[in-house]
Amino acid sequence: MIYFILISVLLLLMIAASVYSIIQKDLLYAVLATGIISLILSILYYLLQAPDVALTEAAIGVALTTIIFVITIRNTVRMEDESDKKEKFKSAVK
C-alpha cells in the first residue's frame, strides 16, 4: 500500500514538472525542470527493481542533458520568441 502511494505521488510530481517544462517561456528554467524529471524517473526505475536502468538514467539525465542544453542556450537565445509565431509557422510549412 505504501509503495502504491509513493509511486502515485512520484508520477503526479513528474507530470507536474513536465507540464511546467512545456509551458515555461524561459528555456533555462525548462532545462532545470528536465533535471527534476530525470531525478524522479530515476527513483521510479529504482522502485521498479531496475537499478541498472536507474544508473544510466542518472548519469545521462543529470549531467549530460543539462550541459548540452545549457551550451545550446548559450549559443542561441534564452527566451522563447512569441511575437511572430504564426508567420514563422506559415513560412516553415511553405
Binding site: L32, I36, L39, S42, I43, Y46, P51, V70
Partner: protein, 85 residues
C-alpha cells in the same frame, strides 16, 4: 525501527515539497538552481534509505552516481549565469 524509517520518509517528502514550491515561485534563476540542488541532495539520501529498506547492496550505486555527478549541472548553470561559460 520501522517507525523511524517512516518518520525519515515523511520528513524528506516535506523537504522535497517545500523545495518544489520554491522552484515554482523563485524570482531569480539562482533560486531555482539551488532548489534543484537541494532536491538532488534529498534524493540521494532517499535512494540510500530505500536501498536499506530493500536490503540490496547494489542499489546504493545509484545514489553514489548521483552524489558524484549531481553538482556538474549546477556548476555549468552557474558559469552560464556569470557569463563565463
Amino acid at each position: 525501527m520501522i517507525y523511524v524509517i517512516y518518520y525519515a520518509f515523511i520528513m524528506m517528502a516535506l523537504g522535497m515539497i517545500f523545495s518544489a514550491i520554491r522552484f515554482v515561485k523563485g524570482p531569480t534563476a539562482a533560486d531555482r538552481t539551488i532548489a534543484m540542488d537541494t532536491l538532488t541532495t534529498i534524493g540521494v539520501a532517499a535512494l540510500v534509505l530505500l536501498g536499506y529498506m530493500f536490503h540490496r547492496f547494489i542499489y546504493v550505486d545509484v545514489a553514489l552516481v548521483y552524489a558524484v555527478l549531481g553538482f556538474i549541472g549546477v556548476i555549468v548553470i552557474a558559469r552560464y549565469l556569470e557569463g563565463a561559460l
